[in-house]
Symmetry: C2
Subunit: 182 residues, 2 copies
């Protein structure tokens, strides 16, 4: 097998060098930021995935739990609201809720004051799962940022929010699905 050298994923530095070779007018500074961001995000999702799996749920389900908790007590939202917040189609939301009802994480009932609507509500078990996931997540996040001084953290948070505001203004979620795509 002396044929193919160790063809593993290129490092960030190799990747940037390769892009510059193939695409002359590339700003390496910009590329570094964008690529690091994207890789970092992927790794973080993997980490979250391992943690939620340890709790017997999926990242997808964790997203639903988070949205419900964020809504505040009594932790209720309609399927459409949930779908909007998670960037899913209503169809996908229907199935996701089916599953989670089956697992006892949420309940689904018709809104008697407006019978077109459905209310999805967090169960105690769902809330408990969220809490455990949250505990694990914060440990991981704290570890991730361990090497950053408090000032660095402040600056990083500021810069990222600045960038976020810029995309959000350019992309006012109008109309469009916020599908994840990656």
């Amino acid at each position: 097998m002396g044929d193919t050298p160790g063809v593993s994923e290129p490092t960030l530095e190799e990747q940037i060098a390769a892009y510059q070779r193939e695409f002359r007018d590339l700003d390496p500074q910009v590329e570094k930021i964008v690529s690091a961001l994207s890789r970092l995000n992927r790794r973080m999702n993997v980490a979250y995935g391992r943690q939620t799996a340890a709790l017997g749920i999926s990242n997808a389900e964790w997203e639903v739990l988070k949205a419900l908790v964020l809504a505040g007590a009594p932790y209720r939202l309609g399927p459409s609201d949930l779908a909007k917040r998670l960037g899913l189609t209503p169809a996908a939301m229907t199935h996701r809720i089916d599953r989670m009802v089956g697992e006892g994480l949420v309940t689904r009932e018709r809104d008697e004051s407006n019978r077109v609507r459905v209310i999805v509500e967090l169960t105690d078990e769902g809330r408990e799962k969220w809490l455990e996931a949250m505990r694990m997540a914060t440990v991981f996040e704290e570890d991730l940022l361990q090497d950053l001084s408090s000032e660095d953290r402040g600056v990083l948070g500021e810069v990222l929010t600045r960038l976020l505001r810029r995309v959000e203004d350019a992309q006012p979620d109008a109309g469009g699905r916020l599908s994840d795509l990656d």
Copy 2:
């Protein structure tokens, strides 16, 4: 229908405030960084998705084109290598390549020197698509970072790579799928 107030996605600030309400020992500084990162990434993927869609390809296909270009001339990789780099199962890779062969973006042929292997190679059309996507992406990225001074960009790039190194060390891709999950 004056019943449900405008239940739209909470802003980053609202989200952090809500989490603090529900989970006492949450570091708002950490949460801000992590949430901004994740939202930013989602928005960026939406933006890339619109651009690649304008070229008649998907983000998924763009990822394959990128991996092949990164491999350097003659732009060849095996399905397993591709799968590893993209964080997909070999099964998914098979189907993805099927599609892309049908669209003329890549070719697939057996490696005559080792007939177990398959070589996926970028076509000229595939390379051209990559180039156009790259041009659009860099315009978007430059616009995204427009408000950041060169020093800010440098610092941001450094900090992000530092974080990336930290997760990569803790998570040496060993064994595990690098599935995206969100």
